[in-house]
């Protein structure tokens, strides 16, 4: 069973995503800020992470990604940023080039809103495609 860790300060979002992921056959854990995110990452050992950018501080998602990608396990798993930062600030980050990927320390970048079902489908088709 693949393990997903979602880091987002939006309680409602977690409430909505958790059962859909579990129904789709994932083991799901949530953390609400980057500190909790890092702790859960170490204990839970996820197969993929979904990280929001603007939590307590705007850069906290970035910082979390950096910390995770600095570990061996972090290097091995896909880390996906899912944020409404682009909508809020008008600025969009990208992962089109290796340089961009390296800069934001994430493997992909998704813009909110995205429904739980779409995210499950995305993971199945793009991240965990056998």
């Amino acid at each position: 069973m693949k393990k997903i860790l979602m880091v987002d300060d939006d309680v409602d979002l977690i409430e909505q995503f958790k059962p859909v992921f579990e129904q789709a056959g994932y083991e799901f854990a949530a953390a609400y800020n980057s500190r909790e995110g890092l702790e859960t990452f170490k204990k839970f050992e996820p197969d993929a992470m979904i990280v929001d950018l603007s939590m307590e501080h705007f850069d906290s998602g970035f910082v979390l990604c950096h910390r995770i990608k600095a570990t061996e396990r972090g290097q091995a798993i896909p880390v996906i940023i899912m944020t409404s930062a682009g909508q809020d600030t008008g600025y969009r980050f990208g992962t089109d080039t290796a340089e961009e990927k390296n800069w934001i320390k994430a493997d992909d970048y998704l813009e909110k809103p995205i429904s739980p079902r779409d995210l499950v489908q995305y993971l199945g088709e793009k991240i965990f495609k056998a």
């Binding site: 409602d12 979002l13 909505q16 059962p19 609400y32 939590m55 307590e56 809103p113 739980p116």
Partner: protein, 491 residues
Amino acid sequence: MSTPKAKILVVDDELGMREGMRRILEMQNLQVDTADNGTQGVEMGVAYEYDLYFIDLKMPDLDGTEVLRSIKLAYPDAICIVATAFASIDSAVTTTQLGAYRYIPKPFDPDELVHIVKIALERRELILQTRRLQEERQKRMIEISREQSRLRTIISALDDGILVINQQGEIVLFNKAFLSLLELKQTIAVGEPFQTVLPQDMSKQIEALLSGNEQFKSIQQEIIIHPPAEKVVMANFTPIIGNDGTRIGLVSVIRDITALKKIDVLRSQFVNMAAHELKAPLSAVQGYLELIVDKALGQSTDLYDHYLTRSLDRTKALVSLINDLLNISRMEAGTLRREITSLDIQNLIEQTLSSFDNELKQHDLTIKTEFENNLHVLADQHEMQRLFNHLIGNAIKYNVQNGSIAISTNRDGHYVKIAIQDTGIGMTPEEKARLFEDFFRAKNEYTRTITGTGLGLTIVKKIVDAYSGMIEVESEFEKGSTFAVFLPASE
């Protein structure tokens, strides 16, 4: 045109001569006074400025030349005709040098006299006219210089900067405010080209306006004055149109709009944050409803019920956010109507507490109160209720299960002090520092499931400020907080 009769003084010691001249001249509709000796002639001639003087040269008491000298001294413009039976080159030269208008030998016939007088009076009229014109001019000059200095005073006293440039691009006029608003340190000489003086963007605008052929009415430009301070000025350019309809230059009025700009930024920040806060609960509700409508989790109804409850909570939070926003905007617009009465503080707090009965039971909270008797404030009851609703509501919301709330009131100088102490989650120093920021909410594992708008304390602060009160906060993270409100006591 009826001019007043011209007045003539005849100074002659000969009765026949005086009366003869009077008869002839009065027939010409002239007014004639006579003096029968030189001394009287000087007296009369100096006391009043006649239009014409006839002076006999040879008089026993005082020579005619002396009479002439005295009169000319008093009235340099006086027209004096010297008449004498003893005409000589010498006396003619002397009297002419003294300023006599004419020198005529006696005897003369009436026609000659009338003719001479007529010409002399014409000359007199010319002199008077010139004098009137000069006086008028003088008066106008004084008026103009007064007007100019008044205008200059007004222009230099203006808070707005004024700059006038002619069509050739030369600076014609400016005031002190203009120099200080644009932070121009050097003094400017009138006639200097504007390009050497003005900031570049303003210079470019003026260049375009002056070189363009098309007429413009009035143009505004915002100019950011760079270092040292952040300052924005609004420059208004208006063409100056000459009498022939062509443009002869332009006038620029410069106004400091830094404060307005700052308010603008704050307002749009507030709108931005408000929109964000309004969107969050709606997005959540949308997410829940989509899952329910799509039956994304099959037919399992337990979770859907939970989602509906959450949606309801979020909707309630949204409504209270909108109420808070309306409240703030009413307070800021000054349209809030306050009905000021003397309110008993103990009453107010007890009423508020009873409205929270359910919540208190839910959290198993103990209430301790300590009221000083007979404390009153002059305030609007609804507003005071809102104030204590927010403060006591917070003490409940951010408390722990089985915690307690201690409320005490006492007189503190001119104030009534109301302290509300909770045994709740408290705040870190960083959170406490941002407590009164619009939309700020502490985010940690304790607050995650507590709903709030982030505007409660903004409203509390506004209400307390409206009554010239104060608010003090003490807090320790994971121990609790104390909010103390000071309101002016009413006797």
